[in-house]
């Protein structure tokens, strides 16, 4: 263990592929040709549906799985090529937390946090001091002698986090760490992760199937679908200008902005004959999120707007708004041009007659 505070390490996936041999002899490709650079000291989220290959990506970072092609570099070291003691050394630099906590039922909170230190051969006296520090950091002083069976889910994950930090790692991996927790507890755990990232400067790579988790703590995000990275970038950019349909569908969930059922049922893809209304999604990015754009639209062009659904929220401290509106289809072109001119993004979702 080093003395000073641990610095983060970068993680680089270079054209990584991973195929598993199934019992019937066939191969299943979990990840293919995935390239991604995770900045040192950043919080990066990988989001994807069940079976997309998220866990496989994460497990290649600490060598729980080996890539079948390409390379995974952690702090410049090739994890896939490391064996034995070298691999165990890398693993001590990479902490990991799990959806189901994976705590030893036979050890107390303090005992669980001590385990990685025992494994690393740290002297008992040092272990004791270090464990006390960690328990303090995650706020479990009152529970240090309790067994996991006596803890709530949120407390268990705090133990998991303390245990993952014990060997002062440069990287923290999180495999759906909040998926088994209720929304409130999820927030406290995410806040803890944010604080840790800020105080210790370690790199956090987390996987999730919830955009809300990415929105709340990740500065960067990668979207994975069918084992391929389909989109990656700064969270704010990806949220405000999603390129891939998968990203969009994840976002429609998180922004909570979906069409009311009565309109969705009547929506047409092409404009019907006669009088019709155009249904638009308008995204307000950055400083524009707080401008009264719709009021201006009415004032300047005399176009009346119906608001169907909407929300303004914060992504990485920047406001971001998402509105679903409908307006006279004849005025659609003008309205969209006006809004785009003022820095908003528009997308035609369909028409209703």
């Amino acid at each position: 263990m080093s003395d000073g505070k641990p610095q983060g390490a970068s993680i680089v996936f270079q054209a990584v592929g991973k195929a598993f041999n199934k019992p019937d002899g066939k191969q299943v490709s979990a990840v293919s040709d995935a390239s991604l650079t995770v900045d040192s000291g950043a919080i990066t989220g990988i989001i994807g549906r069940s079976g997309a290959g998220k866990s496989t990506m994460l497990r290649m970072v600490n060598g729980l799985e080996r890539p079948t092609s390409g390379q995974v570099l952690v702090g410049g070291q090739d994890v896939g090529a490391a064996q034995g003691a070298a691999l165990r050394g890398i693993r001590r630099d990479v902490g990991m937390i799990f959806q189901h906590f994976n705590l030893l039922s036979s050890r107390t909170v303090a005992g669980n946090i001590a385990l990685p230190l025992e494994v690393a051969g740290v002297p008992a006296a040092q272990i004791k001091a270090r464990v006390a520090d960690l328990i303090d950091r995650v706020g479990l002083n009152a529970q240090s002698n309790n067994y996991p069976a006596e803890l709530s889910g949120g407390q268990k994950q705090r133990v998991g986090i303390a245990r993952a930090l014990a060997t002062e790692p440069k990287v923290l991996l999180s495999d759906e760490a909040t998926s088994a927790l209720d929304p409130e507890t999820t927030q406290t755990v995410l806040t803890l992760l944010k604080d840790i990232n800020r105080d210790l400067g370690l790199t956090i790579l987390l996987i999730t199937h919830e955009m809300a988790v990415v929105r709340d703590i990740a500065s960067h995000v990668a979207v994975i679908e069918g084992g391929k990275i389909v989109e990656a970038g700064k969270t704010y950019d990806v949220f405000t200008a999603p390129q891939h349909p998968t990203t969009r569908s994840f976002l429609s969930g998180v922004t909570g902005v979906t069409l009311p059922a009565f309109i969705k049922g009547r929506m047409l893809e092409t404009r019907p004959k006669g009088a019709a209304k155009e249904v638009l999604r308008v995204t307000f990015a950055g400083m524009h999120a707080t401008d009264p754009m719709l009021a201006l639209l009415t004032r300047d062009l005399g176009i009346e707007v119906n608001i169907l659904a909407g929300a303004v929220e914060e992504i990485g401290t920047q406001p971001f708004g998402n509105l679903l509106i409908s307006l006279d289809a004849d005025k659609g072109v003008d309205a969209r041009a006006y809004l785009e001119q003022h820095g908003l993004l528009t997308e035609v979702l369909g028409y209703v007659s």
Partner: protein, 224 residues
């Protein structure tokens, strides 16, 4: 019942306890590592030695399929080699131990297999060696089931120990057969059976008590 008979009963009880205790301890000493190895040496597991695993599995199954009374007779030369004699209480420990080892190994194997694979994964992620995972994760986590398994083995050994009278092993079973059955003394038989029942109860209760003591998991039914 004469004072003489009471003395015999006490001696026989002592002999049974001695045979069972020694063979249980020896059985656990050999069965624990064997069971841990069986549980961790399958393909893709911690120690992944599929071939050795297969061979050992066959040997264990073979040993377990020989009826105990036949095992006792079949290994008489081996017993003589180890114990210096093939008759008597000490000699009886050899076949008892040989019967106990594969039995205990399978019980331990099952107990180890029940440990959540997520814990092995967490330990690997910490950089633990396979041996550290066995010592610090698998055995402590399996301890409640291991304790219950050893209790089951001890109870079975009490039963087996009654059969070693056939080769001059002594103890309660032998006494029951010689006095209760061959000399038509049903009261001796009854006392022998009662002592055996009490012994089994005692072993079972102590085992369960220890298992409950070491079990820190949430009580069943309350869930995680």
């Amino acid at each position: 019942m004469s004072a003489n008979l009471i003395g015999l009963l006490m001696e026989a009880t002592w002999q049974t306890l001695y045979m069972v205790a020694v063979s249980a301890v020896l059985g656990a000493a050999f069965g624990l590592p064997l069971g841990v190895f069986l549980a961790t040496s399958q393909r893709g597991e911690l120690l992944s030695r599929p071939l050795v695993n297969r061979v050992l599995g066959l040997v264990v199954n073979a040993a377990r399929s020989v009826p105990f009374i036949i095992l006792v007779v079949a290994i008489i030369p081996f017993t003589r080699m180890i114990a210096g004699t093939s008759i008597g209480t000490t000699a009886a420990i050899v076949p008892l131990t040989i019967a106990a080892v594969p039995f205990i190994a399978r019980l331990i194997e099952n107990a180890i297999r029940e440990v959540d694979s997520g814990l092995i994964e967490a330990a690997r992620a910490m950089g633990a060696t396979p041996l550290q995972i066995i010592r610090k994760v698998l055995i402590p986590e399996a301890l409640p089931s291991i304790t219950l398994g050893l209790t089951l083995a001890a109870v079975s050994l009490i039963g087996y120990s009654a059969m070693v009278g056939a080769v001059g092993g002594e103890g309660l079973g032998d006494l029951g057969i010689r006095y209760g059955y061959q000399r038509f003394m049903p009261d001796v038989m009854a006392v022998v059976v009662i002592i055996l029942i009490v012994l089994v109860q005692l072993v079972q209760s102590i085992g369960e008590w220890i298992a409950a003591k070491v079990d820190k998991r949430a009580p069943k039914g309350r869930g995680q």
